[in-house]
Amino acid sequence: MTTTAGPSAGPAASDVPFAERLAGYDRAAREAAREHLADPDLSPHLVEPAGDYLARGGKGLRPALCLATCEAFGGTVEDALPSAAALELLHTAFLVHDDVEDDSELRRGEPTLHHRYGPALAVNAGDGLAVLALGALRDNDRRIGRRLSARVLAEFDFMARQTVDGQARELGWQRDNRTDLTPDDYLDLIMKKTCWYTTVLPLRVGALVGSGGRADLEPLLRFGFFLGAAFQIRDDVLNLVGDTRRYGKEPLGDLREGKRTLILLHLLAAASPGDRDRVQAFLALPREQRTDGRVADLAALVHRYGSIAFADEFAHGIARSAEVSFAAAFAEVPDSPARRFVADLVPFMVDRDR
């Protein structure tokens, strides 16, 4: 495959505003990912659904974090592009399967893949995207050498195990109707199901590649977790209060699905015994009986008991930790546009409205 010039290319790179820089990283990673679908031997029944979400345009945070971190640690966008493409492909695969598992209706403001193509083609497209991600990682051998490439693959392997394990835990909690969970359980869950592939891996792989394997990765684990956790809790809050047109998913979807978010855990802890019984009765209902009216009743309880305010403040504490831990993780990294971009990503991710 060929590489695509990203935001580091060109003489004016240091003057690029944040949004433009983010779009540039996103475009570079997305194009690199789409090249893996450009095989004429592949069936259109795979290529079309597998390319659908990639064409819709997400926020592009994950590849941007990976590519910018690589640049900040001394590498180039091209060095980390195979990893960023693999990340984008794997992320898209997770989204496809996640939407099927949750029977979600909207993704990025349009019908989910299984609603558009049917569940069989959607699930297969998700499988295909995961397989193509492996191919993208093989490109690392040529670009960064076999040893470093092997280490990057080990990072991806560990991340993927964490992610699917986290997803299994969440689905299991819902199936078993667990209502005895603590904030510690929730944080452990989102470390696995969200943080690894959203923030921790992009940071660690970007630093590994950019530094030629010399970077200390532990501070990046801390920074990545704090950033990813604040990001996920913000996502949980937006699902309840966000503008659907900007947020791009169906409102109150998490409540309808009975997801064990920090908000729901707070409600279960703070509600009076009578109200808690109502919440538990809702969670025990099969999905088809969770009507709009019942979901609205649950949302009203969430508001009445201050569960959103609690989650918001809880996330604020973690977001401040992200700012502090960024300074530690990038302490040895000289100032550069890429370093400043990563610093700017912190408020962008934790204070977002979409």
Partner: protein
């Protein structure tokens, strides 16, 4: 988010305690993963060569950097304390005081205190429940916090009810401070902060 802002205004200084609890809870989780990742992947130590190279060279001292990160986090907590003027309270306080400090204990010991729930209104409050988070500590550890009773049929008008808090510290628990929250359905906007200090084995409770 107007509603959230309004509620937080009523929560007053307890906002800082929820933020602190979030920070410390997250720090406890990430501490657990540091060891896990070290075991699974180890340090990179791939070398000093530039991109594309395969040579080997040692990385920086991980332990020193981890301790530096801890100090930065502690500095943030200290700044939060100073900003909100939250000082440790006595072993037994009222719920509207917002804080319960369990007496210091050793690893393997038990700490108990009473949390008083006051109802200053002229109306009784029926059907009140309480829930406690585990107390979060450093190195990814937690201490379970038990409430007795966890549920009240009635909180009488202009009356007070004691609730016993009990923390059984595991025998291998490291020394240091622990933090948790108790939420009451009668006043969900004002979680009560519970603190405990696990004393070093050689020192003893103070």
């Amino acid at each position: 988010m107007t509603e959230a802002v309004g509620r937080l205004g009523r929560m007053g200084h307890r906002v800082a305690d929820v933020q602190r609890f979030g920070l410390l809870s997250a720090a406890a989780v990430v501490d657990r993963y540091v060891d896990l990742v070290d075991r699974a992947l180890g340090p990179p130590a791939l070398g000093s060569a530039s991109v594309g190279g395969d040579a080997a060279a040692p990385g920086p001292d991980l332990r020193l950097l981890a301790e530096a990160t801890e100090r930065v986090a502690q500095a943030y907590v200290a700044a939060l304390d100073a900003a909100t003027q939250l000082l440790p309270g006595p072993p037994t306080v009222t719920a509207d005081g917002g804080r319960v400090a369990l007496p210091d204990t050793f690893a393997g010991g038990t700490a108990e205190a009473t949390l008083w729930l006051h109802n200053p209104t002229a109306q009784a409050v029926p059907d009140v429940s309480l829930a406690a988070t585990p107390l979060v500590a450093g190195a990814g550890r937690t201490v379970p916090l038990a409430l007795d009773p966890p549920r009240l049929a009635l909180l009488p008008a202009a009356g007070s009810v004691p609730v016993r808090l009990r923390a059984d510290v595991p025998p291998d628990h490291p020394s240091g401070p622990c933090w948790g929250l108790v939420v009451c359905s009668a006043d969900p906007d004002a979680p009560v902060t519970v603190t405990l200090r696990v004393a070093p084995a050689t020192g003893g409770p103070t």
